[in-house]
Amino acid sequence: MPAAIEIINLTKTYRSLFGLRQVTAVDNLNLHVDEGEVFGFLGPNGAGKTTTIKILLGILYPSSGECKLFGEQFTSSSAFAPETADSRLKASIGYLPEGPYFHEFLTGREVLAFYGRLYGLGGQNLKKRISETLEIVGMEYAADRLVQHYSKGMRQRVGLAQALLSDPKLLILDEPTVGLDPIARREIRDLLLKLKGLGKTLFICSHELSEVEMVCERIGIVNHGKLIKYGKLVDLAFKDRAVEIHVASLSDETRKKLEALNCITGKHETGLTSIRLPARQAVYDVLDVLKASSTDVVEVLSQKESLEDLFIRTVKEEVA
């Protein structure tokens, strides 16, 4: 089965009119996302996420390298290529742009009708699909109001509805929950999980790391256009997990022994004494010391690094 998304040696350099200023937004990026996978595409502002997405969709053209979606490439760059192959491919992708904007003079329903027609939908089919997607994003109540008067979150929902119109296999979402209230966030997250359950491939670009953590299986972190961390979330987050042991009290002698093992001891806010281990591997050595001194061990905590910590650490390490 071909990968849903395959990015090979992708580079994109923006040039000003006379090539005086250049920005390399994506730098030799390699990435692949399997079908049915939920992939989180992360990175600080200006890292090149939106640029990558636009190239995936054929809105931008790469400076070098290539992208394949379901093993196929867009052919539309050649003037006389048959439209059908590209159309089929594009119909299997739903795209939610960053801060979606629609024709202000249309109602939400009309916006969906417009985009639906571009998919070749019409008549009863289109009507049905529009009400289905409106229901999914919870916007039936405001569907006949002008987009002009929509709030940020309402636009975001119409944006999602629009991406779902063709019932695509692959959803590319650029910051899906930005600007949403906590309830809407939860709803969208549930929706994403539901879509995942239906076997859709999701490519999510987001700064809401706690949400990414709840939805995504695999992530890639980019910075300055380069992929700096890439892999299964469990692996990345547990590989460097910290271990902390809490004990009732500690004799000076034991404390010295522990410090010789590079542990950091301290007072925990609960009144217990905490022992922070330098690495997970040290746990048996430390426990041996504690056993020998008959120290009262209250708890052994294995902390999974939060995605936020991982993200910040990775980006900072990259800078260093």
């Binding site: 636009k54 931008l60 760059s77 003037a79 439209e83 590209d86 571009l118 998919y119």
Partner: protein, 265 residues
């Protein structure tokens, strides 16, 4: 099919644009008040009315064409709707043709309204001064219609060229300026020809000649004399003029396509 969807959408958007409505209202005002000019020179009145009306329809028609066509793409680039649209199953050429189609609908609507007012005024005039020497209204109406059709042909060209320039631009300013320039030069091609023959230097003459060789000659599309003399005869033939306009418009659209095909959005 998608071109039609895009076109109707562009049309819907254009007809609520304030600039275009303002142009239309202003043109209507000028056409309407032209009737009062007759007080100034009673003998020449009909001629004056025709002259003023035709030139204002041509001029405001041009503004509507270049503003209408030139703003469509920069606007969608600016508010980023174009990203969502181009991510749908549609080629860029389809998008361009759709926008062009939408511009034509807008132009047709505006020209149509102006033409109707023009005809109404001509009709009222013909009723007011029943004069044996005057041609019947039906004859006037025929020439007027022909004149309007030719104005539309001209707009086919201007809007295509404005659209082409707009693919390079982030705002409507550049396409509008280029459009107005082409309109002015296109209407003075015969004059330019003359000028190039009598240019002070060989170099100047060559430069001027390039302009009239490349730019469309719009003077053939301006039936001022026929209108004033109620003469329905168009020397170049309407079909030939249409072919001329069509080729120019196709050329403009081809340029637009070549510029837009690989453009980063």
């Amino acid at each position: 099919m998608n071109s039609i969807v895009i076109g109707l959408n562009a049309y819907r958007e254009s007809i609520r644009k304030k600039t275009l409505i303002a142009f239309l209202l202003f043109a209507m005002l000028v056409i309407g008040t032209s009737t009062f000019l007759t007080v100034l020179s009673p003998g020449e009145e009909i001629k004056m009315v025709k002259d003023v009306c035709l030139s204002s329809i041509s001029f405001f028609g041009m503004l509507i064409a270049v503003f209408g066509a030139g703003a469509l793409i920069p606007q969608e680039t600016d508010n980023r709707t174009i990203h969502t649209i181009l991510s749908k199953p549609m080629r860029r050429i389809t998008y361009l043709l759709g926008k062009y189609l939408g511009a034509q609908l807008t132009i047709l609507l505006n020209l149509g309204l102006m033409a109707v007012l023009f005809l109404v005024i001509l009709y009222l005039q013909s009723r007011r001064y029943v004069d044996e020497s005057q041609a019947p209204f039906s004859a006037t109406a025929l020439v007027t219609m022909k004149a309007m059709v030719l104005v539309f042909f001209e707009m086919l060209v201007l809007s295509a060229l404005a659209l082409a320039v707009s693919t390079l631009s982030t705002s409507a300013t550049l396409p509008v300026i280029v459009g107005i320039f082409i309109y002015i030069v296109g209407h003075s091609v015969n004059y330019l020809k003359n000028l190039s023959e009598h240019a002070p230097s060989e170099f100047m003459s060559i430069i001027i000649r390039q302009f009239y060789l490349i730019l469309p000659n719009f003077s053939n599309f301006y039936l001022r004399n026929q209108l004033i003399h109620n003469d329905p005869y168009v020397p170049q033939g309407i079909l030939k003029l249409f072919a001329y306009a069509f080729l120019y418009a196709a050329f403009g659209l081809l340029i637009a396509y070549l510029l837009f095909r690989k453009k980063d959005m």
